[in-house]
């Protein structure tokens, strides 16, 4: 975690420390280096002075030696002879006495009398003679043939000055070693006259370095050169004032103090490393003591976030403890609010019972064994009750109802309110029929609402749990309970137990609704035609078209069933369209062949509210070159009653167009006779339920007789449906019925068969096929 407080603290500590340490080290080492250098320079200066002093002393000593030599009478006498050979030999002889490397003799006025050095120039001689003028200052170095000589001169008095005798002592390795032994400093003599010669106490490699840097070294006096040669401080002393060709260079070795310096630096490094380590540990410990509670706090907060209830932290630093306590309080608040939310999400606001979602959730664990009874209770006509007693009172009623559910015995293992007036209960073990009756009786006792006694009745659907149900199939169980409640509508006691298979009907209906649109396009529908026979003329010139659906899986589906489902699901218009188009196409075919059959189609309530339909049908007929009378329509009483005004308006349009209208299933609906007067119909079809047993049932006969008289009285023609016997035909003929439809003549037939049948029937006139009688 490079970003963590801990690592930042450690880095900050280390940075500060490093900075301080480095600064200190820098100052100390720099000071030490400066100090050392100063010391070394001092050494070098002292060495220089000692060296100069040494040369001066040497000069003095040599002078004294020479003065003694020059005072030697033999020497004087030899020189006074003026004989060159004598002079040369005496010079050589006396030179050897004091180990001189060069000897010479000058006249008092500076002329060379004799010299062991060959080929001295006038300048050399005058330089040497100049030494006689200024003899009190230290030492004199003379350059000859790339060699440096320390020269001393002494007068030769006999007794007046007759000559100057000079002797030179080579600045050789011995001198350098001697100087080194005195000063403790390495010394090089450098002669730059023409070529560069070096005499040095240093090793050869260092000498090479000096020669390589000769221009730097052979410079102004008193300056100190660092690191020439490597590891030495050097300073130069000019030996000759005039030519600056001869130098003595003193070399102070750095090695010792470099070692000291390195030792100190290494010690500082060790101290630095140790301090860093210590600082790291302290910083880590310090940061840890600060960050550990933070991590603990973070952990604490994370657990709270995950909904856990962690142990509260006790020993955090005061600042953090505030946060810990706040988090704890926050956690408690969240928990209580969460509990509220969960309660509200699971419970019905009004009654406090579990809601549908919670009921499903609760049922899961309760139904592991699939034992007991699921009971669904609906308050009958609650909406109606709501309107009567008001919403507030209805709510009160629901609350009372719910509390009564909870108070009655046997006590339900689960009580929930699924929606408005629907309650779901679980009894474990199963509730017996007698128990349930008693339960319902207690439940439906009048409730006291604002002083009034309100009675309610209920519908009860029961599902007996068994191993047939999947353990987690709560939805199915609830659906079955709902099916049972729906079933209970029709039961007198208002109690229904779900029977196995009822669910299948429900699923079948779903399948039918789903498959309907596809079935139309896949040609699973077809039309059949049932002959309508005029019993006065005994001819068949018209038929009622009926729709048939052969489902690939379900087989034949009764039209009542799928038309009802289509009406409920809003698909009826596409069926009507199909029927209309198919029938008209068939009609057009027949009429083109010269077979002038009139066909009646059934229109649904939905079709009859479509004001556009009459025009559409009219156009279809015209497009197919059919006369208006080729098509007639049949409507049920029920369809008319749905929206009487709109339906009548549409029917009026049909009537005006000249399309015949028949009332279907007369006598089964709830219509009043007043409507019969209002409806613009031409024909009334008496329902088969009255016709079927007309030859045996006197009541039916009477109803039919009365109906026919009534219809005839309204000047409408009468059709009897569902005639199954020849006797029936006879009776209906006597009752002055106009047209008969039924199995006595023929079942509904497909187009081709119908045409064949119609042809035969009309040919044989009254011939009745005994086979038809069987249906």
């Amino acid at each position: 975690m490079p970003n963590s407080f801990r690592s930042r603290l450690i880095i900050a500590f280390l940075l500060i420390l490093t900075l301080m340490q480095l600064t200190t080290a820098l100052f100390v080492l720099t000071a030490m280096q400066r100090d050392y250098r100063l010391q070394q320079t001092q050494n070098l200066k002292i060495g220089s002075n000692v060296f100069v002093e040494m040369l001066s002393n040497r000069s003095e000593q040599l002078n004294q030696s020479l003065s003694i030599l020059s005072a030697d009478f033999g020497f004087k006498r030899a020189i006074a002879t003026g004989e060159q050979d004598t002079i040369s030999s005496v010079l050589a002889n006396h030179g050897r006495r004091i180990n001189a490397d060069a000897v010479m003799l000058l006249s008092p006025d500076g002329k060379l009398l004799s010299s062991s050095l060959q080929g001295l120039s006038a300048a050399d001689i005058s330089e040497l003679f100049a030494l006689t003028k200024n003899r009190s200052t230290g030492f004199e170095i003379f350059n000859y043939n790339h060699n440096s000589y320390q020269f001393v001169l002494q007068p030769v008095n006999a007794p007046r000055l007759i000559a100057w005798v000079g002797m030179g002592f080579s600045m050789d390795h011995n001198v350098a070693e001697q100087a080194k032994s005195i000063t403790g400093i390495d010394i090089s003599f450098i002669n730059q006259s023409g070529r560069v010669d070096i005499v040095s106490t240093l090793p050869a490699t260092e000498q090479q370095q000096i020669l390589a840097n000769i221009t730097q070294i052979a410079q102004a006096d008193a300056s100190v050169n660092d690191d020439i040669p490597t590891g030495y401080l050097s300073t130069s002393i000019s030996l000759d004032k005039s030519n600056i060709n001869q130098w003595a260079v003193l070399h102070q070795s750095n090695i010792k103090w470099q070692q000291n310096y390195d030792a100190l630096r290494n010690k500082m490094l060790i101290v630095f490393a140790l301090t860093c380590l210590l600082t790291f540990l302290i910083a880590a410990w310090f940061a840890g003591s600060l960050s550990r509670p933070i991590y603990a706090l973070a952990n604490f907060a994370r657990k709270i976030g995950q909904g856990e209830n962690p142990h509260p932290i006790k020993d955090a630093p005061a600042e953090l403890q505030v946060l810990v306590d706040t988090l704890s309080v926050m956690r408690d608040n969240i928990e209580s609010r969460e509990e509220d939310l969960v309660y509200q999400s699971q419970h019905d606001n009004l009654t406090g019972l579990y809601n549908r979602a919670a009921a499903k959730q609760q049922l899961g664990p309760l139904l592991t064994q699939m034992l007991g009874s699921i009971v669904m209770i609906d308050i009958k006509n609650f909406r109606h009750l709501n309107n009567i007693i008001g919403f507030a009172n209805a709510d009160n009623l629901l609350v009372l109802f719910a509390s009564r559910l909870e108070s009655l015995s046997p006590t339900a293992a689960l009580i929930s309110r699924l929606d408005g007036d629907s309650f779901l209960l679980l009894f474990q073990p199963s509730i017996s029929s007698a128990q349930l009756d008693a339960y319902i009786q207690q439940l439906t006792k009048p409730f006291s609402i604002e002083g009034s006694k309100i009675s309610v009745s209920v519908r009860v659907g029961i599902v007996e749990l068994s191993s047939d149900y999947e353990a987690n199939d709560i939805d199915t169980i609830i659906r079955h309970a709902e099916i049972a409640v729906n079933q209970a509508r029709t039961e007198s006691l208002g109690i229904a137990i779900y029977q196995q298979g009822e669910d299948e009907r429900y699923l079948r209906e779903l399948m039918i609704i789903r498959d309907l649109p596809v079935a139309l396009s896949h040609g699973q529908f077809h039309l059949v035609y049932q002959p309508k026979v005029d019993i006065h003329t005994n001819r068949c010139d018209s038929a009622e078209t009926l729709i048939r659906w052969q489902h690939p899986q379900l087989g034949f589906i009764p039209p009542d069933e799928f038309i009802r489902l289509a009406e409920n699901s809003g698909n009826i218009s596409i069926i009507s369209d199909w029927v209309l188009n198919t029938a008209i196409t068939q009609l057009a075919l027949w009429w083109a062949q010269g077979i002038c059959i009139k066909v009646a189609i059934n229109l649904s309530a939905h079709d009859l509210t479509n004001a556009q339909l009459p025009q559409d049908i009219n156009r279809l007929l015209t497009d197919n070159n059919l006369p208006i009378e080729a098509l007639s329509i049949e409507v049920t009483e029920g369809a008319v009653m749905k929206d009487a005004q709109a339906v009548i308006a549409v029917l009026q349009q049909f009537r005006q167009m000249g399309i015949a209208i028949a009332i279907d299933d007369f006598g089964t609906g709830h219509s009043s006779l007043a409507y019969l007067k209002l409806l613009p119909v031409n024909e009334v079809k008496i329902d088969r339920s009255f016709i079927k047993d007309i030859h045996t049932d006197a009541t039916d006969l009477m109803i039919v007789d009365t109906s026919i008289r009534l219809i005839k009285g309204l000047n409408l023609s009468v059709v009897a449906e569902g005639v199954e016997s020849l006797k029936g035909i006879e009776i209906l003929r006597q009752l002055d019925c106009d047209i008969v439809q039924g199995y006595v003549y023929s079942k509904p037939l497909k187009a081709a068969e119908f045409i064949a049948w119609q042809h035969n029937f009309n040919q044989s006139s009254v011939a009745v096929n005994p086979q038809d009688n069987e249906h």
Partner: protein, 227 residues
Amino acid sequence: MPVTRLMQPLLCLAYFMGTSVSAGTFTVNVTDNGGERLGDAVVELIPTAKTAATLPTNKHYEMRQQNRVFSPFVLAVPQGAQVDFPNLDRTRHHVYSFSEAKQFELKLYVGQAESPISFEKPGLVAIGCNIHDYMQAFIYVAASPYFAVSNETGLASIDNIPDGEYQIRLWHPWQLADPAPTTIMINDANNHLTVNIDVKREEKPSSPPSGFGVQHHVSTYMGQHAK
């Protein structure tokens, strides 16, 4: 220039004085450039006209060694004079000269030397002692019989000098350069001259106290001054 300054009065003198053949005493006052009287200066008058050579006098000259110094410091002798070197000290001396005019050596002796030394050649003879380096003296061998050495008051007096024209030569041990010879008319009216010589004054050699180190010191001291 000391010479030109000297010439003008001499020429003036020559102008005023008529020539005579009488002999008289000629005195010369010798000073240094600073006007201080200068002793030990040799004044030699050489007649310009060739005269008969005067016979060498038998005058006795000696250069003593007394109290370990030579005395006198400067001795002027005529050409061919005999000079004795008597040793009045108890120590021995080893008197020598390597000068061109006369080279000789009187080895370690006490008392009177065996025989006087004769100085035949005119010129300057520097005399030293091999045992005592500081001991120094000069014998001026004059070519002319008319010469004198100035005394401590700077006065040099030459007796019995005939009137006439002379070349005057001056010499002093401490002189910085050889004074150029000039000529002068000498007669009764003109028998005195003041001359100056450019010298660097020094201590006359004197006997140091006995002792080894001191003598050594004197030696170097002497050397220093012998420029």
